[in-house]
């Protein structure tokens, strides 16, 4: 398929996945803030860290705003100058979709466009003002509806593979980032939370990744930092675990790679390496040593895979052409 279109496929799903992650984070956090007593700086700042937008936020609104929940939510939800806000994610997703409507299904376009129109209407703002949690759930519903439509209405061919590649790499990176937010708590050092706060925090992390019930199905009653980390990193049956997402990404990349050609070798090798690292990780030991380094490494490696995919598939520098003569029939 055309390289430019492949790139749009890849990014379309990264953006919708990112949108779901942000909405879910905000949904869980707004609930958690009501339930627990958190120090000010632990209430909202972590959300900015996940999105990577902490520094720009601080620059625009000042350090004191970091504790201002309304401001942070406004920024992560509506701000069109924040490239990671829900609003911007949907806009970017739709822009990518609009440049390749011939590639995505009509139903995907309609679903995404409906979400965009809704976000631009007063209706969504009213819901945001009246019932914040319901608003974020609606956003996530749109994203998940989109994913379902994607699986059912696209031909399972190359564009589909680039899409699920983007989706799963985004998901793997986000799970690792969210876990990393809590690395202090995982190690049990630093500003140690009380017992009760500890449990609330683990539950919040799990809920952020839709992992609450799945976790207890698999690890009956053993709620602890290392157990949560193991589950989110390695659980092979859980769709948002890093290992699961990387496995899916790898399956997509294996199908994409052209047979008998050097194209795609590097990105495939890199992805295999990061996946093997996650699957084989001794989580207990990593928690004791420095889980923050491990998680940062996973995030960086995933970003490198993404970069290699770009270089090999999207902007391959074409060699000085020695094109074969094409014979006329």
């Amino acid at each position: 398929m055309i390289s430019r279109v492949a790139e749009s496929c890849y990014w379309l799903m990264r953006y919708t996945e990112r949108c779901d992650t942000t909405a879910r984070l905000l949904r869980v956090q707004t609930g958690m803030v009501l339930d627990t007593v958190l120090p000010d700086h632990r209430r909202w700042q972590p959300l900015l860290v996940v999105s990577g937008e902490g520094p720009s936020f601080e620059e625009r609104f000042g350090a004191r705003a970091l504790a201002d929940g309304e401001q942070v939510q406004e920024y992560l939800t509506w701000d069109d100058l924040n490239p990671a806000s829900i609003f911007s994610s949907v806009r970017h997703a739709r822009e990518n979709a609009r440049t390749m409507r011939e590639t995505i299904s009509l139903e995907m376009w309609n679903s995404l466009n409906r979400c965009w129109i809704w976000l631009n209407e007063d209706d969504s703002r009213r819901l945001y003002d009246a019932d914040r949690q319901d608003f974020y759930e609606r956003v996530s519903d749109y994203c998940q509806l989109f994913n379902g439509i994607f699986y059912k209405t696209m031909l399972h061919e190359e564009p589909f593979d680039f899409m699920r590649l983007g989706l799963h790499l985004e998901r793997a990176g986000q799970t690792a980032r969210i876990l990393d937010l809590h690395h202090h708590a995982l190690r049990g050092s630093g500003d140690v939370p009380s017992e009760a706060l500890g449990a609330a925090e683990w539950i919040a992390i799990l809920r952020t990744r839709y992992a609450y019930e799945p976790f207890f199905k698999k690890r009956k009653g053993s709620l602890s930092g290392p157990e949560v980390a193991k589950f989110l990193l390695q659980e092979p049956a859980f769709p948002s675990s890093v290992a699961y997402a990387l496995t899916m990404a790898q399956a997509a990349l294996d199908r994409i790679k052209p047979q008998g050609s050097p194209i795609g070798q590097r990105s495939r090798d890199l992805l295999q390496k990061v996946r093997a690292g996650v699957v084989g990780l001794d989580v207990d030991r990593a928690v004791e040593m420095d889980i923050h380094d491990v998680l940062t490494h996973i995030v960086d490696q995933t970003a490198e895979v993404s970069k290699a995919i770009g270089e090999e598939y999207f902007y391959a520098v074409l060699p000085e052409p020695e094109w074969p003569e094409v014979r006329e029939a």
Partner: protein
């Protein structure tokens, strides 16, 4: 059934419902009503159905239709807005414009004839030049046309066709005869609205639609894909056909994308293509692959920075040499602009006679050519009665409507014409026909034109109907979407025993 009721004179009556109180404009042909306000007999059954809709119901359906347009992203980008690439919905009037079966038969024959002649003219202009040496049209008019490209001289387009897709603008004069107003044979746009409008009308008025026996327009994408494939270089089986767009910020991007979806062709931008070994290649995730046919929606001037505009980033460097070698088919042909030049238009009837040895089936509007001193003098003396058009502008820009324009604007045009007479033509203002149109609280006559589409590969095919554009502002004669125009669905009725189509 429309045809069985059509002839009965006793059933003629005034509308009582949605169209009640409708008054045709005196001196203007109304497509649905006689001057006395009774319904035209050949389309009476359909008009009665529309008339029977309660106006509350009509409004409800109109809202639904508008929502559907927005939801489907049936939009065009507007340049004039502050932000580039703002998307707008093309205003749409739900009352269809109806064309009887026999009228369409004449139209179709006339369109085929006109395209035959324009195709022959282009082959001749870039070939032997008989029409000029035999004095049908002067060499000066042809060669000074901004659409004439000397680079194309002697070049044989692969497949032998230059006018792959044509959109001919048609109006109806006060007698109700169809006249050609303008030829568009470079990259005519608008067909996506024809198909989307139809889809919406079928959803909005399913029962009326079925009763009316409207001829289908759904074939268009398939016909286009077949025509393009049939002209691949060397007659290649299953060629790679792509649609080349300037990109998502182009005002017609929706259409480019729409056609790619419906034809199954890939949509590419200039940066996706490159030329090596006199072949055009597309960059894919599996390396470079050969492209055989390009339906390009980019103007000639931007196609190849090595040959035309050097600053063009939209085109493909070297593509003209691949074209010249016959290795890629470009649709439409390069250099077509000479044949739809407004200064060449007055000669088309003579060109039909010269190349085809036939009398023109469709009339056209009397035109004064300012390049001719005596005609220019007449134009300058009668500016208040005439419509003046710049020969190389489209979209309703560069136009003076003498009878309606403020005196200041008339004087401005007078100076411009004096300075560059070759750049202008003038025509009497035609009382464009009207069609019943919803105006917010009822129906009223609004002026319309029609752009039928003709697709040519190894065979020629005429889309039954076309894009009806309507001047939504009261008293306006300008139907362009950039100037407050909207569109209507065009219903060509199937004749007795005639097929509706797929």
């Amino acid at each position: 059934m429309v045809s069985s009721e059509a002839g009965s004179a006793t059933s003629r009556h005034l509308p009582k419902g949605l169209l009640e109180g409708y008054k045709p404009i005196p001196g203007t042909f109304d497509e649905a009503f006689e001057p006395d306000g009774t319904v035209r007999p050949n389309i009476q059954a359909v008009i009665d159905e529309i008339d029977a809709l309660p106006s509350g119901e009509f409004k409800k359906r109109k809202d639904l239709a508008e929502e559907t347009f927005l939801r489907h992203g049936v939009t065009f980008a507007v340049y004039s807005d502050e932000k580039a690439g703002v998307e707008r919905v093309f205003p749409f009037d739900l009352i269809p414009r109806i064309i009887a079966a026999d009228a369409w038969e004449t139209m179709e024959a006339g369109l085929r004839q006109r395209i035959d002649a324009l195709e022959a003219f282009l082959a001749d202009v870039y070939g032997e030049g008989r029409c000029m040496s035999e004095g049908i049209i002067s060499r000066e008019i042809v060669e000074k046309s901004s659409g004439y490209l000397p680079e194309m001289k002697g070049l044989q387009p692969p497949g032998g066709v230059r006018v792959h897709v044509a959109g001919i603008d048609i109006i109806q004069d006060p007698d109700g005869s169809f006249l050609v107003l303008e030829d568009n044979i470079r990259t005519p746009s608008g067909v996506s609205y024809v198909l989307e409008n139809r889809a919406i009308m079928k959803r909005t008025f399913p029962r009326i639609f079925e009763e009316a026996r409207v001829r289908s327009v759904a074939d268009y994408p398939m016909r286009l894909a077949q025509a393009l494939s049939s002209l691949a270089p060397g007659g290649k089986e299953s060629p790679r056909v792509v649609i080349l767009t300037p990109g998502p910020f182009n005002s017609a991007y929706f259409e480019h994308s729409f056609l790619a979806r419906r034809t199954g062709c890939e949509l590419v931008e200039g940066r996706d293509l490159f030329v090596a070994n006199d072949r055009v290649w597309v960059k894919t995730t599996k390396g470079a692959q050969v492209v055989d046919v390009i339906y390009r929606r980019i103007d000639d001037a931007f196609m190849d920075p090595e040959v035309f505009r050097k600053d063009s980033a939209l085109g493909v460097p070297g593509i003209m040499s691949a074209y010249a070698k016959g290795n890629v088919t470009l649709a439409n042909g390069v250099g077509n602009g000479v044949a739809d030049d407004k200064a060449v238009y007055p000669y088309v009837p003579d060109l039909i006679r010269f190349f085809l040895d036939e009398e023109p089936i469709l009339g056209q509007v009397e035109t004064y050519i300012c390049a001719r001193p005596d005609e220019c003098e007449y134009v300058l003396a009668n500016l208040n009665k005439l419509v003046v058009k710049a020969v190389d502008e489209a979209g309703g820009y560069g136009m003076l409507i003498g009878p309606a324009a403020p005196q200041k604007e008339v004087e401005e045009f007078r100076q411009r014409i004096k300075a560059h007479p070759r750049k202008y033509i003038a025509q009497p203002r035609i009382e464009l026909s009207t069609s019943p149109t919803w105006v917010g609280d009822g129906t009223a006559p609004r002026r319309v034109d029609l752009r039928p589409y003709i697709v040519s590969g190894k065979e020629r095919w005429v889309l039954p109907g076309g894009l009806s554009r309507v001047a939504l502002r009261e008293g306006s004669y300008v139907v362009n979407s950039s100037q407050g125009g909207g569109s209507k669905d065009t219903w060509v009725l199937a004749g007795p025993g005639g097929e509706v189509g797929t």
